[in-house]
Amino acid sequence: MTILKTENLNYVYSQGTPFEKTAVRNVNLEIEKGEFVGIIGHTGSGKSTLIQHFNGLLRPFSGKIYLDGKDIWADKSQIRQVRFRVGLVFQYPEYQIFEETVYRDIAFGPKNMGLSEQETDRRVRATAERVGIPSDMLEKSPFELSGGEKRRVAIAGVMAMEPEILILDEPTAGLDPKGRELILNQIKEYHKTMGCTVLLVSHSMEDVARYASKLLVMNRAEVFCFDSTAEVFRRSAEIEKIGLSVPQIIRVFNILREKGIDIADDVYTVKYAKEKILEYMKSGGKLQ
């Protein structure tokens, strides 16, 4: 079932000035309910502009966005409702924290939705648990926390709205490997338990390769390709041609195939690579 659909979406910045720039050109997408989509592309490729259309922060210059089959701009006064259903976590979300306690900051979104006291409380506590915020931390000031913890609080603030679609713009930027891992696992967990749709914008090919089942590649304001992760990475040569990198593993397997070893061309994670290599050896009779 399609949850999010765009039709000939166009967006132009600073129209009518010398700085005019098309940020999104003719985007037609259909995103299925429950999918985990990775969005990749250069800075300025239009991915940040695109995701801000999905929750109605930006209004398309032309074209339409459908959420559950309904044009989100059909009734302008209802646009806030769209923002509750499509949660957007910006880059460096910890810089939007403002409340006195972690609890109150996470509760900001649910409160804006007009939820009851009990429901807000339930959501705050459930989300905190989901993202690994211990309950004694809820009463602390968010400004006392470490960078990684702050980031988790900020992400929890959007998750607590329990959006049907969760969009995250580079949620791991600037963190150490462990912090990156923690946050990505929490997103995966949310995706699994809530059964929601997740769109993850990232510069890290390794990360999207590990978590996303589909990839959307943006290039020069247009959709370069939108397909399953394996299919997209099968076109690694084209991806590298537009200046994006692919995971190390893919490049290693490309070399192997160039050297005449007949091995799978859809390998993009370490785990899968290991399986394929062992399989190849078995079939070649090298492993007893």
């Binding site: 801000q52 806030r80 924290i97 400004f143 959007v158």
Partner: protein, 267 residues
């Protein structure tokens, strides 16, 4: 959006005016302001107009820009005009309705004031259009440097100004970002009542303030790493050099100012 503010913006170029010594430009601008305010009749104002036009001709700044810089002051202009039109009651009435009367003198004064304010904005804008904030800060620092003797921390103040100028675009961008982020959390920015509006500002102001403090801390460390130790013993790469064009311009300005004083006197 807030990004579109042009008042006080610098447009790089290579005209005579661009190349002039910022100190002279600053002094000339001040003389120009004096010229406008002591000029009490139409002819004096015409002199001011000629002066502004000449300056713009020499600066290769497109006239379109002047119009753009006028936009933010239109409300003030409108207000003063309305006040002038209705408050001045001397002279011949041109229009009368019950107790409201508009006289010829009121119209004359209003037009005079409008032209004067427009010239003022156009002239002072030219200073910021053609002078980089850095050069301007330098000029202020150097013009004020005699005050160092009275223990006024002139170079420290100038450094503060430099940093403030540097971070204005950064903070504007940041404000935009925070606003979007809070809107994504359902914050209602266009909320109706004043009380709601004040409340809506908190989720923006606090993160902005926190971020400014953090930036300040990091910047201070970075400045220390680059051997900053206050104004003492500091040299400057850009030396302000005055040339013939500066003295000639100053002479012309003084001449115009004298002309205005003279016109006032014979009036």
């Amino acid at each position: 959006m807030i990004k579109d503010i042009t008042l006080g913006q610098y447009f790089p170029g290579n005209s005579v005016v661009h190349r002039m010594d910022a100190r002279f430009k600053l002094v000339i601008t001040m003389l120009f302001i004096v010229m406008l305010f002591i000029g009490s009749n139409t002819i004096a104002l015409e002199v001011g107009f000629v002066f502004t036009a000449m300056a713009y001709l020499c600066s290769s700044i497109p006239v379109k820009l002047i119009a753009k810089s006028m936009k933010p002051i239109l409300p003030i202009l409108a207000l003063t005009t309305i006040l002038n039109l209705f408050m001045i009651t001397s002279g011949m009435p041109l229009f009368q309705w019950k107790f409201i009367a508009i006289t010829d003198e009121a119209v004359e004064t209003s037009v005079f004031m409008i032209v004067r304010i427009l010239l003022l904005i156009a002239g002072t804008s030219l200073l910021t259009y053609t002078t980089s904030p850095v050069a301007l800060t330098d000029a202020i620092e150097r013009l004020l440097s005699p005050l160092k003797r009275f223990k006024l921390p002139v170079s420290e103040l100038a450094m503060m100004m430099t940093i403030a100028l540097r971070f204005i675009p950064t903070l504007i961008e940041e404000t935009d970002k925070i606003m979007s982020a809070q809107k994504a959390r359902g914050a209602d920015m266009d909320g109706g009542k004043l009380k709601d509006k004040v409340k809506a500002v908190i989720p923006i102001i606090i993160p902005l303030f926190v971020s400014a403090v953090r930036r300040a801390g990091e910047l201070a460390t970075a400045m220390e790493c680059r051997c900053y130790r206050g104004g003492e013993g500091r040299t400057r790469m850009r030396q302000l050099k005055s040339g013939a064009a500066d003295y000639v311009s100053l002479a012309i300005t003084v001449f115009f100012l004298a002309a205005v004083i003279f016109i006032n006197a014979i009036d």
